[in-house]
Each structure stands twice: as structure tokens, then as C-alpha cells.
């Protein structure tokens, strides 16, 4: 469903988006998808705003599946308290690693500028910045807001349409929301790379909508965390 990855070519993708837009889920799913193709994949936790609630708690599970994960484990932060907004030094040099790199960028006012923290990110020709948009999130809940939001993120190379309402999601919600996202994307001349849908809805929606591939994702982030 995606353009085939050429031998020797590597995937460098950064996912940005609003609080609870689904960027971490998508980062994990994308990393595992690549892993499933027999590739070497490193997933980098660059969420510096609320890091304790994101990838850290999943670290053992994901590493067990064969992913390389750059993130502080919770034990690393003993005695530090708070949410521990710390950047793992390895994250700074992540792009120097071999293999595919998936960067999970936290939400926040700085958007894609968080990439400044990664050496070589601004210069890299391979890196692709994808904005994850959930039409059901209030801050990206109409065309005007989506446009404003994407422009405010800074560099965005592509969009991932991830409209959902958790367990309340219906096909109508997904299709209506994503239509709006695609409308804005056309105006901004930014491609929508793919659409993400919870794997539970597999079968209720096609594998392609308006020529854009649909990707079914498994939810890892424990609902209780939110």
C-alpha cells in the first residue's frame, strides 16, 4: 500500500501533533510495521512536555518486540519526581544511527521546532515531518483551526488523518472528519500520506479512501493513562 522502500534507502519520519492527537500510537505502529518488514528500527521519544505518560511505560514491551527505543525508562528517573522533562542524550544523536528512525515529537507550542534538538534534523534531506490530525480534537475541529494549527507547527511535509473518538468512533465520524482534513491539505498543498483507523474497525471501511491508503492501527497507549 505504500511506495516500496528501495534497498539501502532508509525511513526517517517525525510525527508531530496536538496533545492526544495519536502521534505516539502512530509512531509505534509505524515503527512496528517497518520492523515487520525485517528492517532495523529505532523509535525515539522526543516528547519533552509530558514524557512520563507516553512511551516510557511501554519501553519493556516494545523492546521485547525487537524495537530499539530511545527513551528514559522510569527507573532512570529515580528520585527525580515531577514528570521528568528530560531529554535522553541519545535522542540528540538519533539520526546518526543506522536503520530506520521514527521520531515521536511531543505536543506543544514549539511543534516541529523540537527537531532542533536532534542533530542534523534540519539539514537532513531524508527526514519527513508528518502532522497527525484528529478532527475530533477540539483544537483541530474545523477547517480554519486545522489550517492555523498546521501552519503554526512549522515544517510539515505530510499529513496523517487520524480522526477518531476512542471507543465512540463510528465510520461517519472518521469519514466526515477526514474529508475536512483533506480539504485543508489540498488548500495548503500538503499531501495526506495515509489515514489511520483502529484495527477494531477493520472491514467497516475500505483499504483506501479517495486514493489515500488506510492503515489499521493497534492501540498500545493504555486508556487509563489519559
Amino acid at each position: 500500500m505504500f511506495a516500496p522502500i528501495l534497498e539501502g534507502e532508509r525511513v526517517l519520519e517525525a510525527y508531530v501533533g496536538e496533545y492526544a492527537s495519536g502521534k505516539s500510537e502512530i509512531s509505534i505502529n509505524r515503527a512496528l510495521e517497518l520492523l515487520g518488514q525485517g528492517r532495523t528500527v529505532t523509535l525515539v521519544d522526543l516528547d519533552t512536555v509530558e514524557p512520563f505518560y507516553t512511551l516510557r511505560s511501554l519501553k519493556p514491551q516494545l523492546e521485547g518486540m525487537g524495537l530499539q527505543l530511545i527513551s528514559f525508562s522510569r527507573e532512570d528517573a529515580f528520585g527525580l519526581g515531577e514528570t521528568g522533562a528530560m531529554l535522553n542524550p541519545q535522542a540528540r544523536w538519533a539520526l546518526r544511527r543506522s536503520g530506520d528512525i521514527i521520531l515521536d515529537i511531543g505536543y506543544g507550542v514549539y511543534g516541529a521546532r523540537t527537531l532542533n534538538l536532534v542533530e542534523g534534523a534540519n539539514e537532513s534531506k531524508e527526514l519527513k515531518v508528518l502532522a497527525v490530525i484528529n478532527y475530533s480534537r477540539p483544537l483541530t475541529g474545523n477547517r480554519e483551526r486545522i489550517r492555523e494549527y498546521i501552519l503554526d507547527l512549522g515544517r510539515v511535509d505530510a499529513i496523517v488523518a487520524n480522526t477518531h473518538l476512542g471507543d465512540e468512533t463510528t465510520i461517519d465520524i472518521i469519514e466526515d472528519g477526514n474529508a475536512e482534513i483533506m480539504h485543508v491539505a489540498r488548500e495548503l498543498n500538503i499531501p495526506v500520506d495515509f489515514i489511520t483507523v483502529d484495527e477494531k474497525l477493520q472491514g467497516s471501511i475500505g483499504v483506501e479512501v479517495s486514493g489515500i491508503p488506510v492503515k489499521f492501527i493497534h492501540r498500545f497507549m493504555p486508556a487509563a493513562m489519559w
Partner: protein, 254 residues
């Protein structure tokens, strides 16, 4: 390729090696401040009698940084804990370590009154213009126009006032026996000298000693190395002038 020998950086004797490498972010200024403090503790020979107290915030990452007796407190409350220790055991050298939020916001009444009473403690306050540990919120020291998580459109002084100028304010409150200075991590030798003076002033029993240190927070500023340094030197240092504002050790170093 032959394996390279691992590099062992020179560390102050007073650093607690089991807690290294430390947990500060790459490019963070805390390591520089703590190195200056560690070297001074070594050179002044006060490791055994230094009590290091950390506030909440990124300064807490230093809670087991030194091979000195250390204690954690609550957000903003390091100053009174240090005062309680110093008043009880004047032979100890008490060093309170805090951020701009702990010192100038939630703990400002303690800082102000400890200064007025000329408490014989040394306080080091790291100013990085934001609340780092909690994820980059606006601090009392956030510069006008600077974006943070709680000033997403830039700090508007009409709404939230102007940045706190701590040393200037404390210099007004303290007698001549106090030591008040502002240093920056971009001038290491000067930083080290100021911290040394702040410790000496306590050792000699003169009075309150306070050093604000301008520092970097690339993680929350979302800056690369060049941008980080540019923000420190071109934005912060012009706004917060570096130098000794009050020193019992002769003419102020500007």
C-alpha cells in the same frame, strides 16, 4: 578498527560518581554550574561540612550529584530548610540550589526575607527563563515575547509583567556584608569565581550570599546548539546584566 579507550572526563572530587552520568539534558547549563560549585567545594576544602539542598524542578536532578550530605525539600522551600540547618549548626556550609520558579515565584517570600535577615546561607539560583522539569511553562524570568507552554503567544508584559531581576532586587534588601551576583554559564571562569565568593562569604560568616546563574534549556527552548548559545548571549545576557552587584571582597566585577 581498534576499540577506543573510553574517555574519563576530569570530575571534581566532591562529585558523587555513582550518580554519573547525570540526568540533565544535552546542552543544559546545570552541569556547568554544578561543576563550578564542585571545583569550589574541592578548592575550599569544605566537602565534609557542606550541606547541599535541592529545590523541586530541574535542580532536583542534582539531589545526589555531590558526595556531600544532601537533602531534598519542597518546591520553593529550600531556603527555609537551609536557614533552619544553618541556624542550628553554624559550622556547616549550607548551599541551596534552586531554579527561577522555586526562588522567584513560589519561594519568593523566603528568598526575600532570608535576604533581609542576612541569613548566612549560600543560594544558587539557575535562571533558564522557564519551568524546565514540568515541561516548559512560563517562569518569572521568561523574557518579553518568549513562547512557553503557558505563554503560547509569547509573554505579554501587559498581562504578566516583566521578568524578575533577582540580584538587583536582593542587592537592595541586603547589608554590605552580603554577596550578590549574576553569572552566566557562557563565562565559566567568572561563574566559578562568583560561586567561590558566595561560598567564602558564608565561610567567613559575613552574611547572605546569592548567585543567579543564566543558563540554557535547549530541550524546552527547542533550540539547536547554535540557537541555544545565541539565546543565552544575545537575548538573556543583555536583559539580565552579568556581574557582582554587592561584594564584601572589594570592587564589584562587572
Amino acid at each position: 578498527m581498534a576499540m577506543l579507550e573510553p574517555v574519563h572526563p576530569l570530575t571534581p572530587k566532591s562529585w558523587y560518581l555513582p550518580s554519573k552520568p547525570h540526568k540533565f539534558c544535552p546542552g543544559c547549563g546545570h552541569g556547568i554550574v554544578l561543576k563550578a560549585l564542585g571545583e569550589n567545594i574541592d578548592e575550599l576544602g569544605i566537602q565534609d561540612k557542606t550541606i547541599f539542598g535541592c529545590d523541586i524542578g530541574c535542580s532536583l536532578l542534582a539531589w545526589n550529584f555531590f558526595a556531600c550530605d544532601s537533602t531534598q525539600t519542597h518546591h520553593g522551600r529550600t531556603t527555609p530548610v537551609m536557614v533552619g540547618i544553618k541556624r542550628s549548626r553554624p559550622e556547616l556550609i549550607t548551599v541551596g540550589y534552586m531554579g527561577d520558579g522555586g526562588g522567584y515565584s513560589i519561594g519568593s517570600q523566603h528568598l526575600l526575607n532570608a535576604a533581609v535577615r542576612n541569613e548566612k546561607v549560600t543560594l544558587i539560583l539557575v535562571n533558564n527563563t522557564n519551568y524546565g522539569m514540568t515541561g516548559g511553562q512560563m517562569a518569572p524570568t521568561t523574557l518579553p515575547g518568549q513562547k512557553t507552554e503557558t505563554s503560547p503567544y509569547g509573554r505579554d508584559p501587559e498581562q504578566t509583567g516583566y521578568p524578575t531581576k533577582g540580584p538587583e532586587f536582593i542587592a537592595q534588601l541586603t547589608p554590605d556584608s552580603a554577596y550578590v551576583a549574576r553569572a552566566t554559564v557562557s563565562k565559566y571562569n567568572q561563574l566559578k569565581r562568583f560561586i567561590r565568593n558566595a561560598l567564602r562569604n558564608q565561610i567567613e560568616g559575613n552574611g547572605f550570599s546569592f548567585v543567579e546563574v543564566l543558563s540554557t534549556c535547549p530541550t524546552n527552548w527547542r533550540t539547536n546548539a547554535q540557537q541555544t548559545w545565541r539565546f543565552l548571549e544575545d537575548e538573556m545576557e543583555p536583559y539580565f546584566p552579568v556581574g557582582e552587584l554587592k561584594s564584601p571582597f572589594g570592587k564589584g566585577d562587572k
